[in-house]
């Protein structure tokens, strides 16, 4: 039976729409995977000699053991964001002549072959080999240590599914756990109680008594059993396999009425963003990227030697929503695009509403970025110029590029590592959006000076805003010309 499941699995992998979408994307994802594997492998191989060099008075393995708890917590966090148990896939098999237990075992075991489970072993195993060669550990000790580590990773794998089941629909329930985590982090930081060293000490016992490696294995088995029992008791359409049904929080958004004819679309867009996972996450990410500046502004490498790079930061901070949201216009509406196109919709108003939303985001992000004045008035001026440039040039540009979108987007999927809806347009688009302003600024900077460069960037944006009507007319034409291709493309599910 497992063999047959595996065949199904292979088919679903090779026939999945996301894989078949485009060769370029496949290659890109492949490279990304290889990149991560290689980086982690290098980490695994290089960490021993590096630790030895920088902390000669301590044993590398002790340092690593102390780090384990941080590693596991961050891995759990990453998995919580990205990895999920594909339990829905077994729905068609439920009424067939297959034992429930077998299906559940299969789903759970399958998760072991996830890419994320590879990352820790390729760090741990090379490191273990170093330890065995450089220090006087017996092979048994090292193997016990590696086994313990791998068992911990598997425990994290299964702990994540339990957490997801429990908290995915109610993130507020996580708060007490987060609080406990913060307390430990605080104790660690103020050196009251070092949880990392405590756990590190526990792990080190594995070297003393290799049989202790059985404990993490038992933990992994226990979590597996827990998952198994949970799924077994909830293997019904109305409990574990049920799709989410959310309660409506309604508000009539009456304030949008003052925007006149674009109000209905604006309301729709706001609901689109607020009620669907993918666009909602886009908004949160925009806010997270606001702190991006903190990485660059204090660093003289950028602020003094490569000031053109700060244009990139400015465009990015004030325009991240434009980029993230704009690149998928009109694919956000792909689920009901044919309805929109058979309705009495003036395309101009539809697009004006999208543009309005992006202008609004630019204003908000520009205002939120004003505290960066701390790093100098030119930073503030540059960010404002970038905001104007984003509104004047990048918004029409991204709207125009949207007319080439023809890939459907599933609003309820998380955007993390999700390349659904990504086509050639998105890949090409990044360059003009970010590079052109940098080049413009750099040329003006070389010709005159920094203030002039910032001023001209803002002026170009202003000209773009003045020519707005002209641009919008062209964009509307482009959308009308591409209408049938888009309707057809948005119908391709998957």
């Amino acid at each position: 039976m497992f063999k047959r499941f595996l065949q199904l699995e292979l088919k679903s992998f090779f026939r999945s729409a996301s894989l078949g979408q485009s060769l370029g994307l496949k290659i890109f994802m492949g490279f990304l995977a290889i990149y991560f594997l290689v980086s982690f492998l290098i980490l695994g191989i290089a960490s021993y000699p590096l630790l030895k060099q920088y902390f000669p008075e301590q044993k590398p393995v002790l340092l690593v053991n102390n780090f384990v708890v941080i590693w596991l917590v961050s891995e759990l966090f990453m998995r919580f964001m990205i990895q999920s148990l594909p339990i829905m896939n077994i729905k068609p098999l439920m009424v067939n002549n297959i034992k429930r237990q077998e299906m559940i075992h299969f789903v759970l075991l399958k998760s072991l072959f996830s890419f994320y489970n590879l990352l820790t072993p390729i760090v741990v195993i090379p490191f273990g080999i170093w330890c065995w060669r450089e220090e006087n550990f017996t092979p048994l000790q090292v193997i016990a240590w590696i086994v313990a580590m791998l068992a911990l990773v598997i425990s994290v794998n299964y702990a994540n599914f339990l957490l997801k089941k429990k908290f995915a629909e109610n993130l507020k329930g996580l708060i007490p756990y987060l609080a406990v985590g913060l307390v430990f982090a605080g104790l660690e930081y103020f050196e009251v109680f070092k949880i990392s060293e405590f756990i590190g000490g526990l792990i080190h016992w594995v070297f003393e008594f290799p049989l202790l490696a059985l404990l993490p294995i038992l933990l992994a088995f226990g979590l597996y059993r827990w998952n198994f029992n949970y799924l077994k008791n909830n293997f019904y359409l109305d409990s574990g396999l049920k799709g989410k049904t959310t309660q409506v929080e309604s508000s009539d958004l009456a304030w949008t009425k003052r925007f006149g004819s674009i109000a209905p679309f604006l309301q729709l867009d706001l609901k689109l963003i607020w009620r669907n996972k993918r666009p909602k996450t886009t908004v949160w990410m925009s806010l997270v990227f606001l702190v991006y500046g903190l990485i660059f502004y204090p660093n003289p490498t950028y602020s003094v030697e490569m000031p053109a790079f700060l244009v990139f930061v400015g465009i990015f901070i004030t325009g991240i929503f434009v980029i993230n949201f704009g690149q998928f216009i009109p694919a956000w509406d792909s689920g009901y695009y044919s309805m929109m196109m058979s309705q009495n919709i003036p395309m101009r108003q539809y697009l004006d509403s999208k543009a309005g939303l992006m202008y609004f985001s630019i204003i908000v992000l520009a205002l939120l970025s004003t505290p960066y004045v701390y790093f100098g008035v030119n930073i503030l001026l540059l960010n404002l110029a970038c905001a104007v440039y984003n509104a004047g040039v990048n918004v029409p540009l991204i709207l125009y590029a949207g007319s080439f979108n023809k890939k459907r987007i599933d609003l309820e999927k998380s955007p993390m590592m999700n390349y659904q809806g990504t086509g050639t347009a998105q890949w090409i688009l990044g360059f003009p959006l970010l590079l052109i302003p940098i080049i413009l600024w750099y040329v003006a900077y070389k010709l005159v000076d920094q203030n002039f460069a910032t001023l001209s960037l803002g002026l170009i944006g202003l000209i773009g805003l003045l020519l707005r009507n002209l641009f919008m007319d062209k964009i509307v034409k482009a959308y009308k010309a591409k209408k049938h291709i888009q309707i057809n493309g948005f119908k391709q599910v998957g």
Partner: protein, 231 residues
């Protein structure tokens, strides 16, 4: 009202629709029947300019649908769930469509009130998003939304499918009422011969993309159609 001229649609060399000439008069209640793949949805999609014809054209009230959009103000349609916006509640969806069709909230409320019986208390004030409704209830929303704004041409693709018997009977009543209005042209497609015969005064049967029957509904129509499809 609707005039079809030499209309064909070809995908990779396979002709899925080929209608030389078809005229649907104003006020007609037009039923389209046919097996799966006969071209019913293709025809409606062409009529709504959702796909482009390979040759020929359709005019709706004198407007060539793939050249101008001026047919949109007086035409409404419900083809499938892709016409619904999953993350809206039914009320929000109705008001949104109302906005697009120049109806204020009171107009929409009046229409909803009129069709309260059709909803059977399962649609309004339920605090659910459209994506969480059952297929049948989604269909009810789509059908009523297609009546918003006093349209002159109403296109319903398979409106009876997925509906419970009571709702089917209520829907027939609604369609008949619309058909009695001489200003409203209503186009309905169905697999169900009996329903179509009941609500339409003219029935066209499609087979492999071609018009094979075109009859004014009478006592014998159902028998004639059954005889045709019983192969």
């Amino acid at each position: 009202m609707i005039q079809v001229n030499n209309l064909t649609k070809t995908y990779n060399g396979t002709t899925v629709l080929n209608i030389e000439n078809l005229e649907i008069k104003k006020g007609e209640s037009f039923g389209l029947v046919g097996n799966n793949g006969a071209g019913k949805t293709t025809f409606f999609s062409l009529l709504l300019d959702l796909i482009q014809p390979t040759t020929g054209n359709i005019t709706n009230n004198g407007i060539q649908v793939h050249l101008s959009e001026d047919w949109k103000p007086f035409t409404t349609a419900f083809i499938d769930e892709s016409f619904l916006i999953g993350y809206l509640t039914p009320e929000e969806y109705f008001y949104f469509i109302g906005d697009l069709r120049g109806q204020n909230k009171a107009d929409v409320d009046a229409l909803l009130d009129k069709h309260k019986e059709f909803f059977n208390d399962e649609i309004l004030n339920n605090k659910k998003y459209l994506r969480d409704l059952s297929k049948g209830n989604q269909k009810k929303v789509g059908i009523i939304a297609a009546l918003i704004g006093n349209p002159e041409v109403i296109i319903l693709d398979e409106p009876f499918a997925n509906l419970d018997p009571t709702t089917q009977i209520r829907l027939k009543r609604i369609i008949k009422e619309l058909a009695d209005n001489p200003d409203v042209t209503i186009l309905v497609s169905s697999h169900d011969l009996m329903h179509t015969v009941e609500v339409s005064n003219r029935i066209v049967a499609l087979n492999k993309g071609e018009v094979v029957k075109d009859i004014q509904t009478s006592e014998e129509t159902l028998k004639e159609l059954e005889a045709f499809f019983a192969v």
